[in-house]
């Protein structure tokens, strides 16, 4: 064991026994065994193949291992590589050929017991497998949900169970026949059937009730967990804000700002649009910029976006320019609110920032107000976009930003 090469990255540690269907030929059992016991993968496969060919016990071992060894989590995420099925079939054909060859050469033993055993093992594998998979599925790593629960329960499909049970029954019968007690079985079966029927009549309702109460207990636990999550979130956000609002009750502007910020946060939480996801989309970046400007200057900004797309360098410039336009509107226009409208189309992105404030004469921008010229117009032109400022005194201002996709850099 010491001489075997340790897997890279974690020397001295034992890899847990897991299947790797994405790397294996059939079910990834050999890969898992090889990694766990630190043996060469080809050697493992050869041993299994020989076990299959000579006597067939390998089939039983493989089937049981496939049913009982959980799939490695990192392997679960990968889709099966293309051609996996064909490869598995090839392996099966090769192993079958080997088996036939071995049998023809006369090397065989214990047939009468081994083949029923193989059948029984396959049957057991079929019966056990869904249960194991279901138990794994409810691991703590997954998000629990009531709907997922019932769907998973339904996945234990009947045909699989029936075929498995038939295989096991057939295997037992074969073994009994070999041992020679099959002929006396008739009476015994009658007795067993009678006792089973009695027992199920006696205990049936109790078992059903137990199953039901387990299920409802689990559902209650999930509900409780969801409620706790919600309570924690409300406590950190809404209750804190309400406390702040009570403290600042004298300052209506501050209170309105707090309420709006909370509203925005709660809304994005309810719609499950976390702020993190906005980092690489145009609409998300604009919404974030608007929120920041709103917070700094305490003027509500209504953001409406149509379409969305991933952010890139040129669009980043659009967002920056829009941010500058919003800042100007909030700072100088003394407008009740600012509207931002963005339309993301495949061939162009347009952003409009509009206020209903004092307005100004665009021809006479004061020299010290470099914001409009440098941060908006020049910035857009540097990135091969266009910016236009429409304004006149008393009429409010609208800044129009256009970035065509065709005007390549």
């Amino acid at each position: 064991m010491a001489a075997a090469q340790p897997p890279p990255g974690q020397p001295g540690h034992t890899t847990p026994l897991r299947r790797h269907p994405d790397r294996g030929l059939i079910g990834g059992v050999c890969v898992g065994l090889a990694e766990h016991f630190r043996v060469d993968i080809t050697l493992t496969r050869l041993v299994v193949a020989i076990l299959v060919a000579v006597g067939g016990i390998g089939v039983a071992v493989y089937a049981l291992a496939w049913a009982l060894i959980p799939v490695a989590p990192e392997s679960e995420r990968h889709a099966r590589p293309p051609g996996a099925l064909r490869r598995a079939l090839l392996v099966l054909v090769a192993v079958t050929g080997l088996t036939v060859g071995v049998r023809m050469s006369g090397l065989r033993f214990g047939e009468a017991l081994v083949w029923p055993l193989v059948l029984g093992a396959c049957g057991l594998a079929l019966v056990w497998r869904p249960t194991v998979a279901a138990a794994e599925g409810s691991g703590p790593g997954r998000r629990l949900s009531l709907r997922g629960l019932s769907r998973r329960a339904r996945r234990i499909d009947a045909p699989r169970l029936v075929i498995g049970a038939l295989l096991v029954t057939f295997a037992s019968a074969a073994v009994l026949h070999t041992v020679g007690v099959l002929h006396s079985l008739g009476k015994a079966i009658g007795a067993v059937a009678l006792i089973t029927a009695m027992l199920s009549l006696l205990c049936g309702p109790w078992v059903v009730r137990l199953g039901r109460s387990l299920a409802s207990e689990r559902a209650a636990r999930i509900r409780e967990q969801e409620r706790a999550e919600m309570a924690a979130h409300l406590h950190d956000s809404v209750l804190q804000t309400l406390a702040l609002i009570q403290k600042r009750a004298g300052d209506p502007r501050e209170v309105a700002g707090l309420a709006r910020r909370q509203e925005r946060e709660l809304r994005s939480w309810l719609l499950e649009r976390p702020a993190r996801a906005g980092q690489d989309s145009v609409a998300g970046a604009l919404e974030r910029a608007a929120a920041e400007v709103e917070e700094l200057h305490r003027v509500p900004i209504e953001v409406v976006t149509v379409g969305d797309g991933p952010l890139n360098g040129r669009l980043e410039a659009v967002v920056q320019a829009a941010r500058e336009a919003m800042t100007n509107a909030a700072k100088f226009a003394s407008s009740e609110r600012v509207d931002l409208y963005a339309e993301v189309e495949p061939d162009r992105v347009e952003v409009f920032v509009r206020d209903r404030g004092v307005g100004f004469d665009p021809q006479a921008i004061p020299a010290d107000r470099r914001g409009v010229r440098d941060s908006i117009i020049a910035r857009m032109e540097r990135h091969h976009g266009r910016a236009a400022v429409h304004s006149s005194p008393g009429e409010g201002t609208e800044v129009e930003l256009v970035m065509e996709r065709g005007s390549a850099a």
Partner: protein, 227 residues
């Protein structure tokens, strides 16, 4: 219309009802309010208001249920949806149930009264946000090949897309322009703007375009990774 429109406010929050009542005070005649669907049906049957301000989210089915039940008995009653919800599917659902517009609860009293008057006069009221939703819902599929199940009948096709003019009007509303300003900028009359918006409302309510019910689940993403 010369007389003040008669309004019933339906919202399950009493505080909010009294707030809206106070804000609307002098501008329209608030003749009743209700905190739930059952109560609202009774009040509306009794008062026969011109306009019902209805909250999208209420217990027992919410605004959609109320609109469905009242419209069956009193088709002349008009609805304006009022909500804090931004979820597009909720807004579109209440419009498709028959509401003649949608405004957010943060709207000012003056703008709300204006909206009520407009709805009472038979027009549609689109907030910038609703205009944005509609533009998204009726987005042209310029990039993709046709969708499966696209209706072929000429009638359906007309319901399924906006005319360039309607699109232009909606874009101005989304940019924050009032109807009057839109009219000025496009060189048309306010009546024409109202007609365009009403046409859009009708398409929104009658279109079988399957994106309308489905699109909200995934925001329309366009590919921009070009040069």
């Amino acid at each position: 219309m010369s007389a003040q429109p008669r309004v019933v406010i339906v919202d399950d929050h009493r505080l909010f009802r009294s707030g809206v009542r106070a804000e609307l005070g002098g501008e329209v005649a608030v003749v009743g309010d209700a905190g739930g669907v059952e109560e609202a049906v009774a009040v509306i049957g009794e008062q026969r208001p011109d306009v019902v301000l209805v909250d999208v989210h209420m217990p027992d089915g919410g605004g959609v249920e109320l609109i469905r039940r009242v419209s069956a008995a009193q088709p002349e009653v008009r609805f304006l949806a009022l909500s804090v919800s931004d979820a597009a599917e909720d807004v579109i659902a209440v419009i498709r149930a028959g509401a003649r517009g949608y405004v957010t609860k943060t709207i000012s009293g003056r703008e709300l009264a204006e909206g009520v008057r407009r709805v009472a006069g038979g027009d549609a009221v689109f907030s910038p946000r609703l205009a944005g939703f509609v533009l998204d819902a009726f987005a042209e599929d310029r990039s993709q090949a046709g969708h499966a199940g696209r209706p072929t009948a000429e009638d359906d096709r007309q319901l399924d897309q906006l005319t360039p003019r309607e699109r232009e009007v909606l874009r101005h509303i989304a940019r924050g322009y009032m109807y009057k300003e839109v009219a000025q900028r496009l060189g048309i009359s306010v009546k024409t703007v109202e007609a365009h918006v009403s046409a859009v409302l009708r398409k929104l309510q009658l279109s079988s375009r399957h994106e309308l019910s489905r699109w909200a689940h995934q925001r329309r993403l366009v590919s921009l990774d070009g040069p």
